[in-house]
Amino acid sequence: MRTIKFLLRKEFKQIFRNRTILIMIMVMPVMQLLILPLAANYDVKDINLSVVDHDHSSFSQKLISKITTSGYFRLQGYNASFKNAFQLIESDKADLILEIPEGFERNLVRKNEQKVFIAVNAINGTKAGLGGAYLTQIIGNFNSDIRLQWQQGKGNNLPPIIDITSSNWFNPFLNYRIFMVPGILAILVTMVGGFLTALNIVKEKEVGTIEQINVTPIKKQYFILGKLIPFWILANVVFTIGLLISWLVYQIVPLGNIFVLYGFIWLFLLAVLGFGLLISTYSDTQQQAMLIMFFFMMIFILMGGLFTPIESMPGWAKVIARFNPLSYMIDVMRMVILKGSGWKDILPQLWKIALFAVVLNTWAILNYRKTA
């Protein structure tokens, strides 16, 4: 135990003397939590719309004004032909073209049926998809509005309408920030813990100090604990700073018990640090460790369920996501912070993360060799 005291004292002195690392640890969570949730916005606004109106009727005018007043679209102007409008898409000035055919009003009134054409610039898939959907919805509303008008006065002949009302639980206004902030915090903690641990040990390999350690009778599990504990504490500090920011800036207060949250993060950090340690035992240079870590971090982050829900991934991707500790962390963060889940609810995730922690750390200790 005394050995660990000396290891910790050394490690903390080195960390506090390394200004860059210290600043990164403190500034990174602050900056990223302030910037990312505002930038990583799922709302699509200001979709550039170009209209080709061949009808020039009062109905076509009504439709266009309904679209522009919705607030999602910015009218880029009227074009005489589809060809002209398409040039706007080609030069990226328009995202959508709405083509209203000649005889729009006449057909609508007489035949009670008319088609309009929407062309979508699908280079930006999200914007195009959402824009197309918004437009379809607005046209649908427009359609039912005029049907309703025409039916009036004809007595009880109203068309049957199923009206769907939905209510959003846990995040009633679908504020994406409430959704994103806990997830981003989870990623931050993972990055800080994982990278710092991996690079720290490999640095000792590069400088050669690890050899001096390896010729001492130190027990390797002590050495590894001496590396784990400081970064475990640091990552907890980062997490706490992050929680404070989400409270102060985004008014996100965990609905659930804060101890449940910390209890989970403590176990989760053991898993992440164990992973960092494992990578360090396989790399000889900081570059190698950095590259390997980046490779896994990309997968962890993009397949962690923060940006795209795991439920909608293909089957094989779901299997990969099951081996991604970050996905459980993001899950639990959202459950505890937004839903107020307790120990019982997060038990499945807790078990899995405990398993990760045990396997990764055992593997790292076994693979760390004092004698090559």
Partner: protein, 246 residues
Amino acid sequence: MREVVINTNKLTKRFGDFTAVNEITFEVYNGEIFGFLGANGAGKTTAMRMLIGLSKPTSGSATVAGFDVYKQTENIKKNIGYMSQKFSLYEDLTVLENISFYGGIYGLSDAQIKTKSDELITSLGLQNEAKKLVASLPLGWKQKLSFSVALLHEPKIVFLDEPTGGVDPLTRRQFWDLIYAASDKGVTIFVTTHYLDEAEYCNRISIMVDGKIEALDSPENLKKQFNTHSMDEVFYELARGAKRVE
């Protein structure tokens, strides 16, 4: 007969097809200064790494301080000190912090660490540098410091891998004074070097060529054997036969 503290028998290390150390057999006696010479790439460092428990031998056998190099590496480590070719104290810790860290790792008590630190700093004349980061010390002082740190836990044997590489002749001389002082206290010194004048300071030397020990005796006897007056001649005579190029 003096007590044998290092004993190897056909000790071999292979990396794939390459035999870095080829069946070396020798003994080192308690309290002597044993010089381990050889050209670059002759296998000195590899041989030493097997003896200090950093590298597992491919075949052969060896004991260091009575412990087996295959199974009892951790016992060996308690009884030896090591100073590597590369300076390997923590540059971002102060002189005192390095001493206390290694003292702690070797299990010294706080009181022992205190006395040892004072002793060491006085004997090296580092009073003004004790609280400075090691990174700021000149190379010669760093070498002396790491030698002293290697002796902190009073090991029976200390292994020095090219301890005087890159330092000026005066510092080298001072460094050898430290080695003699340790030797006088009964510590066995196992030292590799390139400098043939340093070979003369050793009680016995071995010369490795292409992974094999080609000569082993006291400097006087070797000079007689090769019928020359300088160690340089002895070394050239042997190293000329080397086939390995760096």
